[in-house]
Every structure is written in structure tokens, then in C-alpha cells.
């Protein structure tokens, strides 16, 4: 057999691969991995959406946009109230920590120490979500 004939012969030999006894198990394993990866990604996206939504609501409330009392429904009002209370609670609990590290009086442009704290927290959450998404893709 010449080299010209032998090359395709070897390619055909490589193309013929014996079927493995556990091929159904192997496929099931991959399907399970895909399912868990999809679940993890859905969870990460949901978390990201929730975080983004909360930040957006909080920002719209704190930017003193007049939504008009007639347009604001009771659930939205109560949600806004809850977020404001949570913000105040967080501010009260974080204030001593910020005082201790000397960040309470820190001013960056028009933003105070508390604003910087929230921005930092949001950045950390974003990094954590990005990490989780990357991990889910690798899995």
C-alpha cells in the first residue's frame, strides 16, 4: 500500500471507534452537569436581578423623585419605607465601624462616607456575582 493509499486508510481506521459499554452513563453524566450548571446560572442571574432591582428602587427613592402620591400605590410605599428603614438601620450599625476606620467623614465629590460604603458593597456583590457566573460556566 502506497503512502497515498495508506493515509486515507489510517483516517478511516481512526474514524472507526468501538462503542463503549457505558456510553449511556457518560451521556447521562453530561446531561446532569448541564442541568446543574443551568440551575446555578439561573440562581446567579436571579440574584443579580434582585440586587439590581433593589439598588434601582433605593436610588430612585433617595434621589427625591416626586412620583406623586396618587400614583404611588400602598405596596410600593411600604416597600420604599422598608428599604429606607433598612438603609437607616444599616447606616446606624455601620456608622461606628466607619468612624473606627476613619471613613465616616470621608468625602468624594458629592458623596459621603455612607454613599461610598454602599457603592463599595454594590461593587463587591457585582464581583461575587461575576465570579459565580464564571464558575457556573466552568462547571
Amino acid at each position: 500500500m502506497s503512502a497515498d493509499e495508506f493515509d486515507p486508510f489510517v483516517e478511516r481506521a481512526f474514524a472507526r471507534s468501538p462503542r463503549m459499554a457505558d456510553e449511556a452513563l457518560f451521556a447521562a453524566g453530561i446531561e446532569a452537569k448541564l442541568a446543574s450548571s443551568t440551575r446555578l446560572r439561573t440562581l446567579a442571574l436571579t440574584l443579580a436581578g434582585l440586587t439590581g432591582g433593589i439598588v434601582a428602587v433605593r436610588q430612585s427613592l433617595s434621589s427625591a423623585v416626586d412620583l406623586g402620591t396618587a400614583a404611588v400605590t400602598a405596596p410600593v410605599r411600604s416597600l420604599g419605607q422598608g428599604l429606607q428603614n433598612a438603609n437607616q438601620d444599616a447606616q446606624l450599625s455601620m456608622q461606628p465601624v466607619l468612624d473606627q476606620v476613619g471613613l465616616s467623614d470621608m468625602v468624594f465629590g458629592s458623596m459621603g462616607g455612607m454613599s461610598l460604603f454602599w457603592i463599595g458593597t454594590a461593587a463587591l456583590v457585582a464581583v461575587a456575582i461575576a465570579g459565580a457566573m464564571k464558575l457556573s460556566q466552568e462547571i
Binding site: M1, F6, F14, R16, A35, T38
Partner: protein
């Protein structure tokens, strides 16, 4: 009426998988899983390592399914992904680098008649086996192999040639060897 998965062509299944169809992709894995795992074993991977790499390759293929246009076969496409993943893993371990200069060859068995490819590949050195499998099993070109293995193109070509020469001896014994045995006595 929708067709059963088994009736669908690979390209149709890949299109459905690209839209997130896990069951459709599972069918592709069932069809081609053995071929991909077999190729990795032929490249020199241990069975468990071959399965790990094949699994990673299929998971990566699922992510990239939209890129599969059906120009070649789905099996060849996944084989290329698997081969590259295996090379990356090997490069991390840097085992083949030390092997390049050595010329360790399993002794040829003086058995007339055809032997199967898996058996014949054992006669090749690790690098020859890798180069031949990448070229004829995964369909990579010589320059692609050279880039993947970080070897000079000429070295890759000579590894492939030497590997094929050895395979030729194993897979197609010289007619003379038959003649020798038949003339004895």
C-alpha cells in the same frame, strides 16, 4: 408532529442544543461520546483522564453550539475541541516536552496479519502517537499541531511520518513476511 430525537440529523440536534436543548445535546453525546473518548485514549490519555477531558469538551461544545455550522461533522468538531483541551492539560503537566527528544518505541511484535489500530498505536512513541492522532484522528493540520505542541513544523512532520511508517508496518505486514513463513520447511 415532532420527530423523535433519534430521527434528527446532527445539525438539527446541534441547532436545538444551541437554543438550550439539553435533551437534544444528550442525544449528540450518546451518538459521539465513544468516538471522542476513543480518540483521547488513542492520543495517549488514560481512560479516566480521557473521560474527564471528553466531558469538558462536550460541556464546552454545548456552550459553543451556536458556532457549529455543519461545515464538517459534529463528531469532528467535538474531537478538535477535545484534542485541544487534552493538549492544554498535557501542556500544564509538561510531560510531552521531555518526551520530544527521546525516541522510546515499544518493540514490534513479529506477528503476521492485521492488528487493530489501538494495538498498533502502542508501537509509537508518545509524541508520534500524539502527532498521528491529532493529524488523522482529530483532523488538525501540521501547522496547527506545531502551534498546539509548540514544536517546529518540520519536527511535527517527521513525527507524523515516522508514526505512519510504524503503523504501516503494524497494520499491513510486508508480503515477504508471509512468504518467509510459507517457505519454511
Amino acid at each position: 408532529m415532532t420527530k423523535a430525537l433519534i430521527d434528527l440529523h446532527d445539525v438539527e440536534l446541534a441547532a436545538l442544543a444551541a437554543a438550550g436543548g439539553r435533551r437534544e445535546f444528550g442525544e449528540l453525546v450518546r451518538r459521539h461520546g465513544s468516538a471522542v473518548r476513543g480518540l483521547l485514549r488513542r492520543m495517549g490519555a488514560q481512560p479516566s483522564e480521557a473521560d474527564d477531558v471528553a466531558q469538558d469538551a462536550f460541556l464546552q461544545a454545548f456552550e459553543k453550539c451556536a458556532e457549529f455550522r455543519g461545515e464538517g461533522t459534529f463528531a469532528s468538531w467535538v474531537k478538535r475541541i477535545a484534542a485541544r483541551l487534552y493538549l492544554k492539560r498535557k501542556a500544564r503537566n509538561a510531560r510531552y516536552v521531555a518526551e520530544v527528544e527521546t525516541e522510546e518505541t515499544a518493540p514490534l511484535v513479529d506477528t503476521p496479519g492485521l492488528v487493530d489500530l489501538d494495538e498498533a498505536l502502542k508501537a509509537l512513541s508518545e509524541t508520534e502517537r500524539l502527532c498521528v492522532s491529532l493529524c488523522h484522528g482529530a483532523g488538525l493540520s501540521h501547522p496547527e499541531i506545531a502551534a498546539a505542541l509548540k514544536l517546529p513544523l518540520g519536527t511535527v512532520k517527521s513525527h507524523v511520518k515516522r508514526g505512519l511508517d510504524k503503523l504501516r508496518v503494524r497494520l499491513q505486514p510486508e508480503p515477504a513476511s508471509y512468504g518467509r513463513t510459507s517457505h519454511v520447511g
